[in-house]
Subunit: 350 residues, 2 copies
DNA sequence: TTGTATGCGTTATCAT
DNA sequence: ATGATAACGCATACAA
């Protein structure tokens, strides 16, 4: 017992501590810790009972901060996304949180709006909180130059989508996905495909653009860099881009959008024009978010489960570090056909 | 100096500690702490420089766990939502995280699926992590019976939507909101309104049902408990309910859904029937999520900003505890007119 | 102007 | 079978 306790924080812990439990049970904190952590090989039943009852009576809950500090493990992971308001990422987030919650982990969520400096600051915050693991979703920016110098400490990292970081990833083949979209448009008769890309420094967009270029070649479609329009992955950005293209007389008979929001924006721009979808212009999106089957006309898109991507990343992160494990998990995608590319509606029923 | 250090954790801290910085700068940890925390009133510039440089050289970052344990403040808040995959809640989450991030706070996200036991376990996890604050979104279940006995410690709490907890809330007037919807349907000529409610033990649904009942009376519409259908706040649930209602010959000429997903489900069920919207059946939703203006026909709905609700809750939480502050912040709602209730399209221009 | 000592709440080591 | 004690990394009261 200290004669003159120099405490500077409020003196009465509002939630019981192990010491309080110990006093009530008439044992030492060591014994309390042992019982509560199941190290009870040598502890007689009656002692256990006394401790357990005291703990219950006080509503004792271990302070995770102290445990984390002592054990060097926080049971917390960080999730870095561009924007949780985007359907893609809230699906990912749900997958991550489901797995984390089952495993007793907490998930700290951060939005970056794809701004490198902001991403850096989020990562710093998460690392300061000593998260056990970190998941990046959304693809890297500028080859992740703002992150390569990072000291990751003991924090494990998993990325979802293309990144330039030396960590395991969960991916879909972005290039092949868009190539599939292009080939489909070629099959329904398109010759000049407008390409609604993301920003040039987004890795996802780069990969998808590879797929576009490759497939345009393979299918013998018209190559024309004028047809590639860079912008944000948003409805507004795409609507503006397509409207402008129309205004300046750009000719195209198909659109491949690197993101469903872009595709929907395109649909809106076209709806305001004299062109009809899919007959004058067929449209394919990518990601197949939930809204895509609700819009009019329903959107053909490249489908894969963002929820599963999130789950997989979290499982990867939480699994014991196996050196043997494959460092890349490639998830399948498929083309989901809907009205926006269905040029033979007349010949079908319904 | 200890002769026999009994360390049990990996010995070399992978990210520098204050002690490491102190050694490199040739000062004590106290001085390091002072400099890094700006308590530099009495510290000569050259000492500061040495410390700062050592810290930078080592890439020193304070361990938040240790700081939190010592200061009793974690710079972290918890967010409890039914499902981050729901448009309502990811907007809320974005608002909360934006405010938190600006203030240097982290946000731990948890999904409950509106399961009381799960909510309890999420709350326990968050409290164990000693979050400084907690935000509940989505409205209480069963009068929050599973939470009333909770020991909240020093954690501050703010709720979004109706709850039975003694904490400040950010609200919209759910009853008035639905009443507005009902009156609007009455004005466009509806007499029998199908009501797509949530579960009876959801407080949001109870409040909205109050509004429905009240407004039906006020507007002199037909009262019939057969018209009230309880279910989940999801498209599938609503589609099934409406389809079944149609099958068993229930008659109605308007639908008020307590949630836009329900309204959209209703639209789908009606599309598959012989009834047209809005002429045979007019439909109003609630919450005005982003998809609602994209579906066909576009959905009339009750609008308010979930993003702002989230921001307000977080600001409330992070603001200094003013006893004078009002304990309820009521946010305005308005009716957004779209095609699903527009029965005079013919007389209007496009 | 700076350092020593103490405690935040917990777990692990060693001793009894 | 149980307890005293060090240590996790940091911030503060107090001494010097």
């Amino acid at each position: 017992m200290v004669a003159n306790p120099r405490r500077t924080t409020p003196s009465v812990p509002l939630v019981g501590t192990a010491k309080a439990v110990a006093e009530r049970a008439g044992v030492s904190v060591t014994t309390v810790s042992r019982v509560l952590n199941g190290h009870v090989d040598v502890i007689p039943q009656h002692t256990q009972d006394r401790v357990l009852e005291a703990a219950r009576a006080l509503g004792y809950r271990p302070n995770s901060l102290a445990v984390a500090l002592r054990k060097g493990v926080t049971q917390t992971i960080g999730l870095v996304v561009p924007d949780i308001g985007d359907a893609y990422f809230h699906q990912v987030a749900r997958g991550v949180e489901d797995v984390a919650q089952s495993a007793g982990y907490g998930v700290i969520l951060t939005n970056t709006d794809r701004i490198p400096e902001r991403e850096r600051s989020c990562v710093n915050m998460l690392l300061d909180k000593r998260v056990d693991g970190l998941i990046f979703a959304g693809g890297g920016i500028d080859n992740d130059r703002h992150l390569v110098e990072q000291a990751w400490g003991t924090t494990r990292v998993v990325t979802i989508g293309p990144h330039s970081l030396p960590f395991p990833s969960v991916l879909v083949d972005d290039s092949a996905a868009i190539a599939t979209a292009v080939h489909h448009l070629a099959e329904v008769g398109c010759r000049r495909l407008l390409c609604l890309a993301g920003q040039p420094n987004w890795l996802v967009s780069q990969r998808r653009l590879d797929g576009y270029r490759r497939a345009v070649l393979e299918a013998g479609l018209e190559e024309d860099d004028e047809l590639i329009l860079y912008g944000e992955f948003s409805r507004g950005s795409a609507e503006t881009r397509v409207r402008d293209a129309l205004t300046r007389g750009l000719v195209f008979d198909g659109i491949v959008a690197f993101n469903d929001y872009c595709a929907i924006g395109a649909l809106q721009a076209l709806a305001a024009s004299e062109l009809t979808v899919p007959d004058d212009v067929a449209v394919v999106g990518c990601d197949d978010i939930a809204v895509s089957e609700l819009v009019q006309p329903a959107l053909t898109s490249i489908s894969f489960s963002q929820y599963e991507l999130g789950r997989a990343a979290a499982e990867f992160l939480l699994a014991p570090p196996t050196d043997a494990a494959e460092n890349v998990v490639m998830y399948p995608h498929r083309l989901t056909l809907r009205e926006s590319t269905d040029r033979h509606r007349a010949t079908r029923q319904k």
